[in-house]
């Protein structure tokens, strides 16, 4: 896997166990054992899943006594969503209609102005 941020985020999401962990954390912080409880895999495996999520910025962790608490960090999800939004016009009818409207406006502008902004 390459090292760019978005790839790291999507890769972290590409595992059902990790998505389940995020779903659990959406209901509140939890310790490693609490997070491991629903799964039939070993604790070290969970520990590494958490490291992947932390590495992607999707969770942050704190320690109190011998417990490590994880909490959800939504920022990367916002980023990933932002990337996908660029494609919304392809599936969202309402967005497509708005998009067509905006395009029409922009085209009307390019007829009168020079070098319109390039959108990425």
């Amino acid at each position: 896997m390459t090292t760019d941020r978005l790839s790291t985020i999507f890769a972290a999401l590409a595992d059902p166990t990790r998505r389940a962990i995020l779903a659990r954390l959406a209901e509140g912080d939890a310790t490693v054992s609490e997070l491991a409880e629903p799964f039939s895999i070993s604790l070290p495996a969970i520990s590494r899943h958490l490291k992947v999520l932390e590495n992607a910025g999707l969770i942050s962790r704190s320690r109190t006594a011998q417990w490590r608490s994880s909490s959800l960090n939504p920022e990367p999800l916002r980023e990933a969503t932002a990337w996908m939004e660029r494609y919304r016009r392809f599936w969202d009818v309402n967005f497509a209609r708005l998009d067509a409207h905006l395009r029409a406006i922009q085209q009307a502008q390019s007829a009168t102005e020079q070098s319109p902004e390039k959108t990425q």
Copy 2:
């Protein structure tokens, strides 16, 4: 990688080359060579990236003569976005406000009705 659909989609998106290919296809269909042009990797490598995208349902392909044309298939992106939407309230202030409002309404309902629907 596990075989579930969402994991396959996210895994397909977890590569910058494949995301660039999708971005290119958003501007219109293209052949394999056309898609390969901006990259410094071999054609077989591109061919396999396309197979990953096709397998995730993100593109569909057709053949005319010796050319294989790929076209963007937005449905999986809609699915992935739908999954992320569940977390929108964690980063989107406006959504959080709406969410709080809906919760308040639902709570008011549960006070008068029996066994309210469980939302997932």
